[in-house]
Symmetry: D2
Subunit: 338 residues, 4 copies
């Protein structure tokens, strides 16, 4: 942490910064410029201390972090890539893992058709929402427990892992019965009560990026899961809110190399929620694979015209089959496979 003092301050003000730093167990070095005093506060845990701790002291002009505020999710903490194993599917390795399925679980027929397509195309995981967080209280909110039962059934029939969202801290156990991977949605990335419970469950969990969260905040939220002892954490980039209005959210493609640089956690990309339109999904999916994502989350629906939720961003099974062929070709060109 670097504390820049205002011009013309007195010795006592410098001293109060130094004392506070020492009381927290940090080392301190003073840099006396002709204009200004700059205090370097050093130590492995300075990232976990809020900058306000020093900014609030008299005579301080500004405080700048050197260490990142996240710790357990950082590559400095763990150098090698983390791998998450879900049954026979490994996430974070050489295989690019495709997760596919409808936004919301609607009925058995729908889910069976998608399960079959997953098997046939070489996708790895079935996705489907039973609890649906919806912007409006007047929209369809999901089949809830009945939806979980359908997911469990399709999982068994096709022997494929299932991912589904949990929205209430008190439902974690319930959802964990039917799902192999728990999903924490974008709107809940900083729902700390939920993160704590999911962390305690020790189940594989996919943490979607808040649509207005920085990469730093996202990795700090991952620390909530990791701090509870859950090491099975997968990240999911799903687009951020920007001024651009031709799409729902702008997929942050550079978050892929940024995450790979600063974190050891595997990263999935969701082009469906980002773009919001089926015609834009394939190009963005291909980009994500080429940029080094460890997997893709794609909305697929046997009949998007009749989907209860987000039909516009869903691929048909035939479009999805075509896209899988293209993704395989790209994966091969960068020495990975699907």
């Amino acid at each position: 942490m670097i504390v820049e003092m205002q011009r013309g301050i007195d010795v006592e003000q410098v001293d109060s910064v130094v004392q506070r730093a020492k009381s927290l167990g940090f080392q301190v070095q003073l840099n006396m410029g002709t204009d200004k005093v700059v205090i370097a506060i050093l130590g492995g845990n300075t990232g976990q201390v809020p900058t306000d701790t020093f900014a609030v002291l008299p005579g301080v002009e500004s405080v700048t972090r050197i260490m990142k505020p996240y710790k357990l999710a950082s590559r400095e903490f763990k150098g090698e890539d983390s791998l998450v194993n879900v049954g026979k599917v490994q996430i974070g390795g050489k295989r690019v893992v495709v997760m596919a399925g409808p936004c919301a679980v609607e009925n058995e027929k729908q889910l069976m058709e998608v399960g079959k397509a997953i098997k046939e195309t070489g996708a790895a995981v079935l996705r489907g929402g039973a609890f649906k967080p919806r912007t409006s209280p007047f929209s369809f909110q999901g089949l809830e427990e009945a939806g979980l039962e359908l997911l469990a059934k399709v999982r068994q029939t096709f022997n494929i892992p299932v991912i589904t969202e949990v929205v209430d801290p008190h439902d974690v156990e319930l959802v964990a019965k039917s799902a192999d991977i728990l999903q924490v949605g974008s709107r809940n990335m900083q729902n700390f009560a939920l993160l704590t419970e999911v962390g305690k469950s020790k189940r594989p969990v996919m943490l979607k990026r808040g649509f207005s969260s920085t990469v730093t905040e996202w990795l700090t939220a991952a620390d909530y899961l990791l701090a509870e002892g859950n090491s099975q954490v997968i990240l999911c980039e799903r687009g951020i809110r920007t001024f651009e209005d031709s799409i729902r959210f702008s997929l942050d493609i550079s978050s892929i190399p940024v995450i790979k640089k600063f974190s050891h956690l595997p990263l999935i990309v969701d082009p469906s929620h980002a773009t919001g339109h089926y015609s834009l999904v394939p190009a963005v999916a291909k980009a994500a694979v080429a940029a080094g994502a460890d997997g893709i989350l794609i909305e697929v629906h046997p009949n998007p015209k009749e989907a209860l939720v987000d039909g516009l961003q869903s691929l048909t099974i035939s479009d999805f089959t075509r896209l899988m062929a293209e993704l395989k070709s790209i994966a091969k060109s960068i020495d990975r496979y699907i």
Copy 2:
């Protein structure tokens, strides 16, 4: 809802849009331009239907909402201003209601000093957090139940209403015992499990705007509370995330006249969380009162240097006292009072 068809589509495609609209109980009118067919779908509840319902049909180029997606929070639904009464304090009337207190409840002495300042300055409500949603798992998370007890004690001593945040849907009843107004925080604006429970409680509730939510999404979230039968809803603007880096969040000053135009709900403004720095709070607080806010939420701490949370954005009691005098002068100039 306006459905623009692509050029050169056939009659069946128009027909499928018409049929779907009629099946939902809407009226339909066709506009046949030389270039394009544009279909107007009319009816009081079109705002509650997702645009995807039509966008997903073949031959559709774009779908545009005419009606807003929120309903109960809208001024079209209820023309006159809503008033929320908390003890003898009325929010939404001629009085500009000042809510003040520390970010986090720390101890009895701290809270008593603030309670005294509230009484002496003419502020109306005591704020203080017992459950603190924190970005990092390594930060102080609040005194929780012990904090609620301190709030209850100060409330009784000074006979002032108390507002505090609830973060878990299962804590609503607990928090409602010690607080007059429940606060739903910015990061939970779309935590629909929480909104539903708070809505059911029928207690006055202040819904903070998500820091990346549009005004439309914010009012749609308010519909969750109103749809459960809770009419005691107060809105709180607290700044939005932008590219500007001189402050924490950019207070959206124009949201004040926008909310007044489109909604009947009272609106409080929080300059402390927006700016993040005590030196910027007074100017923004004064702006909010001049622009027509129904109240202000200000962080005040007897000793910001030792605050456990957000000391940098807290005013001292003497700075707060000075600001109150300035706010009273501005309130008077626009024919309101504090």
Copy 3:
């Protein structure tokens, strides 16, 4: 400038940073933590050196500025407030200066009516565009030289100063003949060829903030004007681009105290271009005055329904007259006047 080195780097890498800093005339202090080496580079002009100068060297993890990149516009460079005098109108003093007029100059009758309203309401400066930068090539582009002549005529008739925009570096002299204040528009804030010419002209100039520029970039652009020896610089906040879609641009209300803290230059606020809608202008104008703006720029048109440009954000003369009374009341409450 603070240079954080990567872990495990060798002495030579530290040395190359030190050598480069010294070659630029800076002082250097090393901070050897147990984990990392952090190098403080000190000196009054470090703000004018790009961070890349050091970031590009091997072994460097990150580089953080301490000094701001702007210099001449900063309050550190000049402590007291700058005043710009235009005829008998002083900008930056106790008077809140109201500049009013149509977006585009259309004809003599229009401009005369506005000139009369300025005189009668106590506004100070006439605004009106002769050269109009328009988003689409198919829109009205302004009366150009004929517009300048009309401005000059009204200026003489009512003896009021005139502000108008210049868009081409080669038109500066031409525009300066008819205008007392040159305006550099938002889209040209980083048109450095234009800034340089306007700087050379030594005429009072109002620099509008780029709608996606940080305060820091804005003040750095002001340095272009000041570096050419033009000290007559006025800033104008006109809203920034955010995700919020209920208005055109989000007026950055906190830029007012931020500018007052970091710069000595006077600041005008334009609520018309920010909000884009006449019904929202008064609330935001009042907020700006209460927050400490040195003036307001308001679009006024005798007949907004027939305006060639931006009629929707223009006030009628009667609405403007009512607003002036309200602004005077607020100015008085903060011990200023209009």
Copy 4:
């Protein structure tokens, strides 16, 4: 254009909207809902009329565009892809065109080394800035005319086309002597005086997206070039300003399929200015090719450590050579070549 009237308006207000629409040559259809009147205004050129034209009329609630505001750049105007030919290099065809070179031209040796690398790696075009728009007046502003001469020399030596930026409308002819493609930079995307002159020149031009411009505004700016009769227009996506702070700008990857859907113009992607860091450039470059970009603009410098401008985002020649091999592999996997 769809005009929604307020509730309870009278016939005359509807009539004034109808009259104005008819006076502009448009067709009108009324949609009388039980709640509201909605007026559809139809005709091929409604996109070129500002929405304010109707929004300003009494009784109007809102106005929504159906037609896009751009025309000549749209795929509706021209269905087949446009190709731009520069010598033997075709942009917009099956070849993915790589443009490479330093941010700023510094000296002959530097430029010759890059020219050689272009030849050897199969890149197509040399880039290099002679006029540099810089944020601060204290930064290096480019070699100007001497830089143009160096570009011309390397162009001749290696027989490769050259692209360079023009910043002043009065320099267009001068720059066109030394360059095959004129570049309009991001900060000048809405410098309409410059666009008009470049449009008149009829030279191939690459229009970089303003870093805070929507795709719609970008294509409308392209209309300025096309309206002057210059059909040789290339677009360049270079990242947009968002809240994310791990990179300089967030490359808008979905702009690639969006542009391909709505426009016939070829599209180049610049990962160097977007990310601002050499370690992030390769992943984003690969993503852009996979997503369907027609080319890539990469900053390459023989010695980035000593670069005068933007060294941090420049690849060394050996890094660039490695990236070219990877890009070729990806291009092949999507049936294109480099």
